[in-house]
């Protein structure tokens, strides 16, 4: 397990990270959310040892991360880059060796990965000859070629077309299913919503919320319900103990304000048929707006 414990970092007088702590658990996709400039990239660079922390520590399975462990992490930096003039296949295999694979394994992993990413046909081309989308896939391959212990991906989906997003997603899910902790940042909340098991939300260099996605949702869920009845649901407005947010013909959305959900449901049944009665779970977007 990758654990970040109260790391801080300043650039000059500007404190960018302030006591940031969270965990990335094995086999789980952890989404790292935050506005631009909130400290996502700085945190990731500290985890990878590219940048030094001014306080706190990053541990792997309880011990401070050594160079040998870090070498087996997979990293996709925010600013993409590979050697423009080097052939894609050779380049990925070379990076695999640099991460500690022997030549034959590096070669084999590269072939398999490029096939998974639907990039096999471009293996012999120089990187600069690829479209931007394909360069992005090559970048994903570069982060995965050595079967990493953990994956740290900074905005892995930005710049990908929808089909490529699906392809890359499939590859990442497979890694997570094999027990690899995956930390990825994104500002596309909808993507994170579908994808992550756990969430870390950072704001102004501090962790605003973190934990399992469902638990966070439950915690931030107002006692809000949607009711659909036959006929008009306007009567809810006159019911004490509920605050109606919206009525649209037979459909109404309301917060409980003194009454229990079962009491409201019983009242509705007394008045006629009930087609649907469901709790409304807040979207990530709403949680995000609430915590930051």
């Amino acid at each position: 397990m990758l654990k970040v414990s109260s790391i801080s970092r300043s650039f000059g007088a500007h404190r960018v990270l302030d006591g940031v702590s969270f965990e990335v658990r094995p086999g789980r996709m952890t989404g790292f959310l935050g506005a631009n400039g909130s400290g996502k990239t700085t945190t990731m660079r500290i985890v990878l040892g590219v940048l030094a922390a001014h306080g706190g520590e990053v541990t792997w399975d309880g011990a401070p991360i050594t160079g040998a462990v870090r070498q087996r992490f997979g990293y996709m930096p925010e600013e993409r880059g590979l050697y423009p003039k080097m052939k894609v296949g050779e380049q990925i295999a070379w990076l695999g060796q640099l991460h500690g694979l022997d030549r034959a394994t590096a070669r084999r992993n590269t072939d398999r990965l490029l096939a998974d990413l639907e990039l096999s046909q471009r293996a012999g081309d120089r990187l600069e000859e690829l479209s931007l989308g394909n360069q992005q896939r090559a970048q994903v391959a570069a982060a995965l070629v050595h079967d990493p212990l953990a994956l740290i991906l900074d905005e892995p989906f930005s710049g990908l077309d929808p089909i490529a997003v699906e392809t890359v997603l499939g590859v990442l899910r497979e890694r997570a299913a094999n027990g690899v902790p995956v930390l990825f940042s994104s500002h596309q909340l909808s993507v994170v919503e579908q994808l992550c098991d756990d969430l870390v939300i950072i704001s102004g260099g501090r962790i605003a919320a973190s934990g399992e996605r469902e638990r966070l949702r439950a915690e931030h869920a107002a006692p809000r319900f949607q009711l659909v009845v036959d006929g008009d649901a306007g009567w809810l407005r006159d019911l004490a103990g509920v605050r109606v947010l919206d009525v649209d013909g037979p459909r109404a959305v309301f917060d409980l304000d003194g009454r229990t959900d079962q009491e409201v449901l019983r009242t509705a049944l007394d008045r006629g048929a009930v087609r649907s009665f469901t709790p409304v779970v807040p979207s990530l977007d709403e949680i995000f707006k609430e915590v930051i």
Partner: protein
């Protein structure tokens, strides 16, 4: 999987540098031109410039006067025939007996070679004869200086490669994977091996070229100097290579490279200029042959001119090796301190403080 050690990371980086270099056409074209130039310099003068002047001789006195001259002599019956040969440019000049002496007939310019052959020179005794002529000596000095400067400038490929890694941001992945010093070591080792390879080819080709050109005596004198030149050049290259790497690490874009390579350019070109300008000044050359940056040119030149003993070369090589160790250590810290910096140029002081 037991991870990549410092040594294997260095080896991988070096392999990549060599691999990407030997695939560049420019590399082979440049090296090919150098070899062609070497052979041309050694062989062409013999083929084209070496022909003897032809001269027509009229009369016994003329023949006698030309007996010991290194000229191709043709006998002509009379002055008219000799003039015809001169006009048709079958000979360069005619020597015609006239009274007790001879007269020279030529077409448009006085034939210096023929006149010199006819002149009686006073005998000369040399107390300390030089084994090589001044012209040849100058040529050899220039060859050493040029070759060193070329390979020194070749080190700029390290700066290029470093700044490419910064500009494309792959440096982020590299630094997250292997120690920064392994990146530096790999670059220096890779380019040093490339240089050694080329220098060895040149060191083998030079004697062949000289033999083809019929310069056996020169070869005998130059060969030991070439032998010394190889280690000097290799150490000298590493010295400059470490500095080129820092020049590359100090900036973030190819376009800005010009602003950071002033010092290393000076240290590459300066020795060439200094040795060429001061080659006649024995004291200055002695000093230059111990200063690490110019030693690689000045010491082989002094050995060639037989102004230095072998122990001096060993001593100078030792000083150079010490300088290499020191400069590489300093460069490693500066490289580490500036590699991850993006934006404008990193000052040396700032890089030093950041380099842990």
């Amino acid at each position: 999987m037991d991870g990549t050690s410092f040594a294997s990371a260095t080896r991988l980086v070096a392999e990549r540098e060599i691999g990407s270099f030997v695939r560049m056409k420019g590399f082979w074209v440049g090296f090919g031109l150098l070899l062609v130039g070497l052979f041309a310099l050694a062989v062409l003068p013999t083929v084209f410039g070496g022909g003897r002047s032809a001269v027509a001789a009229v009369g016994q006195e003329a023949l006698a006067a030309l007996r010991d001259a290194d000229l191709e002599v043709r006998e002509a019956a009379d002055r008219a025939e000799a003039e015809r040969l001169v006009r048709s440019e079958e000979v360069d000049a005619a020597v015609v007996a006239e009274g007790s002496g001879v007269r020279v007939v030529a077409l448009s310019d006085p034939p210096v070679e023929v006149v010199a052959a006819l002149r009686t020179a006073p005998p000369v005794d040399l107390l300390d004869p030089s084994e090589v002529g001044q012209g040849v000596r100058q040529l050899v000095i220039m060859a050493f200086a040029m070759v060193f400067m070329m390979f020194g400038m070749g080190g700029s490929a390290i700066a290029q490669s470093t700044v490419t890694e910064k500009q494309t941001r792959i440096v982020e992945i590299l630094v997250a994977t292997v120690p920064i010093r392994a990146l530096l070591a790999g670059k220096i080792v890779g380019h040093a091996l490339l240089t050694i390879g080329q220098v060895v080819v040149l060191a083998v080709a030079a004697p062949i070229a000289l033999r083809l050109g019929g310069h056996e005596e020169l070869l005998a004198l130059v060969a030991p100097a070439i032998g010394w030149f190889v280690p000097f050049l290799v150490f000298g290259f590493v010295l400059l290579a470490a500095m080129w790497a820092v020049a590359g690490a100090a900036v973030s874009r190819q376009e800005d490279l010009g602003s950071s390579m002033g010092l290393v350019l000076l240290l590459t070109i300066g020795p060439y200029v200094a040795v060429m300008a001061l080659s006649d000044n024995a004291t200055a050359m002695a000093v230059l042959s111990y200063v690490p940056f110019s030693a690689a040119i000045a010491m082989p030149v002094r050995l060639f001119a037989q102004e230095a003993q072998a122990w001096e070369a060993v001593l100078s090589l030792g000083v150079l090796a010490g300088a290499v160790v020191l400069v590489v250590m300093l460069a490693a810290r500066l490289y580490a301190g500036s590699l991850m910096h993006t934006g404008g140029k990193v000052g040396l002081a700032k890089a030093w403080n950041r380099g842990e």
